[in-house]
Amino acid sequence: MKMKRQVGYTFIALGALKAAFLFYERLSGHGVPLVEDASYAFLVLMGVALMFTGIHKSIAGYTDWMYQKVELGLIDAFNYALVRLVVSFTGALRKTHTGVLRHNLIAAQAGGVILLLVFLVLGGYL
């Protein structure tokens, strides 16, 4: 609880400092959008809320849920599935490399025939 209160106090101080600088900018004529003043006032209020109502704890719980379910469970799981797919495909492809020269030559000849057929079709000859 003590750390949360200290974070809350620092939050308020940070928000107040930011707001003070923004108001100074407004007074000195540099011009600051009104929405920024309101949002930094909100920043100060957020600090108060964090300190007194324990919202930090509920936010922490929510962020934990988002990290576990959305980030790791959904997005990262999808990405690692893609990685595993690529690794398994390349592994299967590697098995065709028997190292026997005769097999390589047969594959090259078959590939050449396929290419020739493709060009003949694309060129309108077939």
């Binding site: 930011k18 600088f21 959008p33 949002s39 909100f42 962020t63 980030e71 990685v83």
Partner: protein, 483 residues
């Protein structure tokens, strides 16, 4: 007359080759040679300032593939100067830090060879004046950084994480290559200066302009880790050695920022204007999502990595509105520079903390401010700058970003973005309080001792952060010349 832009690229490239070829003979001189080379590259870049001051630019060209009409061309204006400068600054600091960090570890010459090649790739991207050269250096960034993550990474999963990083970034690069091919097919040129400063892009049929734009955008979004193509970043930045994490987060991400400015803002400004709202919403999603993820992290490096996702969201937010109102570009570049220096310093500090305390869990840390005052002081200044605390540079850059969006007509999005700064302040304050304040562990040797050599790069970056904060007006003036 020596071409300093060429020197800044070729010096790390040649030294990288030397280090690799003579890796068995160099021994401890590898670190010295690498540090001197990165310093020389940095000084070369800094010395080009007179050429770009007051809106000037520097252009040099060398024959490359005459049969294709390709030349090796280097273009330097204020944006490429500023971004190449921070890339070189962070790379130099990382190299200097590595002298102590890598002491006694195997494969040092190869490590430094990869580091310098990585640096060469990043600077080459920022100086490239044609799309082929841009792509070559874009891929040149990826390959040594893959080796640095996959072979010098810190856990048993480093190969898988390195491969995931390679796969993601290369997928983005393939999209960029397809877009480059389309651009050349219809415009007949790879020259970036021609494409950005003339109406050459008008040769693209209107039906394929959105497709080409989307291919470029996807490739750059992957590089800067915008939500939802961001998951490679926490893994790669968390896994890499700390100085490499500093370069990945502090320097490499800025190459994606540069690419958006040079190619998308330069050649597709009308499409950017039309897509500004959607891109701003995507950017704000990235800001908030990265911040929420950073709030929940207990691993110090993953916290900083998710923070990078959020901070890149800020920069992307500024660039999305830059076409409509110039503050977005100014704020974006200033924020990029601030993020490079601050995040670079934070990752180096994380390396010191992990080395001294043997833990990455921030719940097991605390009280470091009393035991390691220099390290803690530097980290707190950097964290507060990124949290937007006045009078540090982050305050000014965030203000410009939000102002730019507000004045470009996106008041609601700018309000949400300014609320996102609350989340940023929240996780950085949590980081500061948990790691540096409160009671500490008694059985830990907090004296830097074996890591005493790292004070220099930390002080170096801290000084730069303060100089940037005090001199942000000069930077704003330099970028403002582009509007």
């Amino acid at each position: 007359m020596v071409d300093l832009t060429l020197v800044s690229i070729m010096a790390p490239a040649l030294t990288s080759a030397l280090l690799f070829l003579f890796k068995d003979r160099l021994g401890r001189y590898a670190s010295l040679l690498a540090t001197l080379t990165s310093g020389a590259s940095l000084l070369s870049i800094a010395a080009t300032y007179p050429g770009v001051a007051e809106g000037g630019h520097v252009y040099s060209s060398y024959p490359w593939v005459p049969s294709l009409g390709l030349s090796f061309s280097l273009y330097l204006d204020s944006v490429s100067f500023l971004l190449s400068l921070v890339i070189a600054l962070v790379s130099f600091a990382a190299c200097l830090y590595s002298v102590k960090y890598m002491e006694g570890k195997p494969g040092q010459a190869t490590y430094y060879s990869n580091l310098l090649l990585f640096m060469c790739g990043m600077i080459g991207v920022v100086y490239a004046a044609n799309l082929i050269q841009f792509y070559v250096f874009w891929e040149l960034m990826l390959i040594p950084s893959f080796f640095l993550v996959a072979f010098w990474g810190e856990s048993e999963n480093r190969r898988v994480i390195g491969f995931k990083y390679f796969l993601f970034t290369h997928a983005g690069a393939v999209c960029i290559l397809l877009a480059i091919a389309a651009v050349y097919t219809y415009t007949g040129t790879f020259n970036l200066i021609t494409l950005t400063q003339t109406a050459a892009m008008g040769s693209l049929p209107s039906s394929i302009v959105p497709l080409v734009f989307t291919l470029f955008l996807f490739g750059f979004m992957v590089k800067i880790a915008v939500f939802p193509v961001h998951t490679w970043l926490p893994d790669a930045h968390g896994e890499a050695p700390s100085p490499i994490s500093a370069m990945l987060s502090g320097a490499m991400l800025k190459c994606g920022v540069y690419a958006i400015i040079r190619i998308l803002l330069g050649s597709f400004s009308q499409v950017m204007a039309g897509a500004s709202e959607i891109l701003a919403v995507l950017a704000v999603l990235s800001m908030i999502y990265g911040g929420i993820m950073a709030l929940t992290q207990t691993d110090i490096k993953r916290l900083l990595a998710y923070s990078s996702i959020s901070q890149m969201g800020y920069i992307f937010f500024g660039l999305s509105t830059a076409v409509l109102y110039g503050y977005g570009l100014t704020g974006g570049v200033l924020h990029a520079m601030n993020h490079a220096l601050c995040k670079g310093l934070l990752f180096l500090v994380a390396g010191v903390i992990i080395h001294q305390t043997h833990t990455r869990d921030i719940n097991e840390l605390g009280g470091l401010a009393r035991k390691m005052p220099l390290v803690s002081g530097a980290a707190i200044v950097a964290a507060l700058s990124l949290a937007g605390t006045p009078p540090l540079a982050g305050f000014w850059s965030e203000g410009l970003l939000i102002k730019g969006a507000f004045y470009s007509g996106q008041q609601l999005v700018s309000l949400v973005a300014s609320l996102a700064t609350v989340i940023t302040a929240g996780y950085y304050l949590r980081f500061i309080w948990k790691v540096f304040l409160g009671p500490g562990k008694e059985d830990v040797d907090y004296a830097l001792g074996g890591m005493s050599g790292v004070s220099a790069p930390l002080l170096f970056l801290l000084t730069l952060i303060i100089v940037l904060s005090l001199g942000h007006g000069v930077i704003i003036g330099l970028i403002g010349g582009l509007h």
